[in-house]
């Protein structure tokens, strides 16, 4: 418990100092750090489903998109303020999580993987197709920033601190959750479903609860994204690639660890920037760099799946325990 607290404090310190280092030491835009904040929320919430409960989901990005679009539509079409759009967006994530989770979590193993993957794809196609609602391929624009009274939070710094304060809260809360009695029950369910059922754990109900919980966090992150994304969201941001990225983060961080997933999220969102710098050096254009980036992460994902399906951090914890 103590060690976790230390980990948390170090993590928080890094988060607070990072934007200043980016801005004043290496003179770099804050955008990748901001993105990392959203990804931390997504990866950490997915790690509860994948790592803790052992249920694979390859469509987690769908809930992020549902949250973002619900909040975006509420804000642009109905002119609702952020303190209404964010709860409504989160609620939409809860409802979607329940509606999707209820039928899908009855499936096992690769059927579950396929169903979630397809749900992610179908959601993306829906965002693209329903243009009267979602703006189609062009997406929604003129999304308002978060505004309290007369103060409008439009600068990258303010976005960064809003997003990361919630990201940190998510990390701490999910960490607390995974060591709570409910978390322990989920671990039991993960290692042996039948045994868990025998000692009186409501296996399906618990799976559904954690799935809905994770969807709610993802949708919440989505609502923040709608209000902190410089005014636009478009379907391309919520495609299959997003869900694959999230699962890569969870895998990279060691499937079982909340902090690992957070680290994975930071790595997956910052490494592309390094590759981009190297690419500039060789006069490559942005799309080429993106492709090289995808190839590198694809190879990393395969290597992890071959040599250490449990991830790096998980192994270390096993040894120390």
């Amino acid at each position: 418990m103590r060690r976790d607290l230390k980990k948390g404090v170090i993590f928080a310190l890094i988060v607070v100092t990072a934007p200043f280092i980016f801005r004043y030491v290496i003179f770099y835009p804050l955008e990748p750090l901001l993105r990392a904040g959203f990804f931390v929320m997504l990866a950490v919430s997915l790690s509860l489903v994948v790592g803790l409960a052992g249920q694979i989901s390859l469509g987690h990005g769908a809930f992020f998109g549902i949250g973002a679009y619900t909040a975006g539509i509420m804000a642009t079409k109905l002119n609702l303020p952020f303190f209404l759009t964010i709860p409504i967006g989160t609620l939409s994530g809860i409802i979607a999580g329940f509606l999707i989770g209820y039928p899908v979590l009855k499936l096992k193993s690769y059927y579950l993987a396929l169903a979630t993957l397809i749900i992610g794809i179908a959601t993306y196609e829906f965002f693209k197709a329903a243009d009267s609602l979602t703006g189609g391929e062009m997406g929604l624009y003129n999304l308002p920033n978060i505004q309290i009274g007369k103060i409008e939070f439009y600068s990258p710094f303010s976005h960064y601190f809003i997003v990361w304060s919630f990201a940190l809260l998510t990390v701490f809360f999910c960490d607390f959750f995974s060591t709570s009695p409910v978390g322990k029950r989920l671990k039991a369910l993960h290692s042996d479903e039948e045994a868990a059922e025998c000692v009186g754990i409501d296996v399906f109900g618990l799976k559904l609860k954690v799935f809905v919980f994770a969807s709610a966090i993802a949708a919440f992150a989505g609502t923040l994204f709608a209000h902190c994304s410089y005014g636009t969201i478009y379907p391309g941001e919520f495609d299959v690639g997003l869900s694959i990225k999230i699962i890569t983060m969870v895998v990279l961080g060691g499937m079982y660890s909340v902090y690992g997933a957070a680290m994975g999220a930071v790595i997956v969102s910052l490494v592309p920037e390094v590759i981009r710098r190297i690419g500039d050096f060789f006069y490559m254009d942005l799309t080429q760099v993106t492709h090289i980036n995808d190839i590198i992460f694809g190879i990393i994902l395969i290597l992890f799946m071959i040599f250490s399906p449990e991830g790096i951090l998980a192994k270390k914890e096993e040894k120390s325990a």
Partner: protein
């Protein structure tokens, strides 16, 4: 209009069915769901275009392209799938997703974001030549899909190798006892599926063009078709391909922007109601 829907549906149906068979073949030989299947089609089209620009005779290109893509399939199986012995079925799915990302990005790096067109295989005939109202390109696509499905069926039923593959899909341990190597069968299934995909890629290139982004969409549809008919079930894959092809053609004539949602939604329904597919047994 009904006829139009049927004709277009049939065209898509035969393409989807062929891709779905690729999924089913690999699944039955090794219980792996290879989500990179659509990328084989994409790769086939692009390689076909590169071969075409070397002035090879046109009729050779589908076969050459199929052979090249088949060897790519074998290499991928050796490099990425075969070493993952401890991996769970879910990890294997993640590996094939990573493979599809790698293939797509590599193709985009090599060929760029451009769209390539291989000229029609019947360009030397007068334009608009038809047999019974059907364009020749159309007949070629539907016909060669059917022919390759039939050849594959004969291969699986009549030859020693094909029977070994089927034995492996029924019972890997039993197959190993009588001297069939599941490893080799998995390699074989990857090469056949990849080759089939590569050939389809060239055949559709004169009509639907070749592009590095083509694979994802085709892969999803083919894969929905395979699940619809029951994974690992080859007649099922054909039925699934037809259901998706025809319903998509119907959907496109009513609400064209929603066309791409039809396949996933159909698949979800089937997965929920009958996880083993329409032609599959009880689970």
């Amino acid at each position: 209009m009904v006829l139009d829907i049927l004709i277009h549906g049939l065209e898509w149906a035969s393409i989807y069915a062929t891709i779905a068979i690729g999924f089913s073949l690999i699944f039955s030989a090794s219980r792996i769901i290879n989500l990179a299947q659509g990328e084989f089609v994409m790769l086939g089209g692009l390689i076909g275009f590169s071969l075409y620009s070397t002035h090879l005779p046109l009729f050779l290109i589908p076969f050459l392209s199929a052979a090249i893509v088949a060897s790519v399939g074998i290499v991928l199986e050796r490099v990425a799938i075969s070493p993952a012995k401890r991996a769970s079925p879910t990890s294997l799915i993640i590996i094939t997703i990573a493979l599809s990302v790698i293939l797509r990005s590599t193709a985009a790096l090599v060929w760029g974001p451009h769209t390539f067109r291989i000229p029609s295989f019947f360009a030397h005939l007068p334009a608009g030549t038809q047999i019974l109202f059907f364009d020749l390109d159309y007949i070629l696509i539907v016909g060669s899909c059917f022919v390759s499905i039939i050849i594959l069926g004969l291969f699986l039923k009549k030859t020693r190798l094909g029977r070994a593959l089927r034995a492996c899909s029924m019972d890997p341990t039993g197959a190993r006892i009588v001297g069939i190597s599941p490893e080799k069968m998995r390699m074989l299934s990857f090469s056949i599926s990849a080759g089939l995909g590569g050939m389809v890629g060239v055949l559709i290139a004169p009509v639907f063009y070749a592009n590095s982004d083509l694979g994802l969409n085709l892969g999803i549809k083919g894969f929905c078709a395979a699940v619809l008919g029951g994974m690992g079930n080859i007649p099922g894959a054909i039925v699934g391909g037809f259901i998706i092809g025809i319903s998509e053609a119907m959907g496109a004539s009513f609400a064209s922007s929603y066309k791409d949602i039809i396949a996933p939604v159909l698949m979800l329904f089937v997965l929920y109601l009958k996880p083993r597919g329409i032609l599959g047994g009880r689970s």
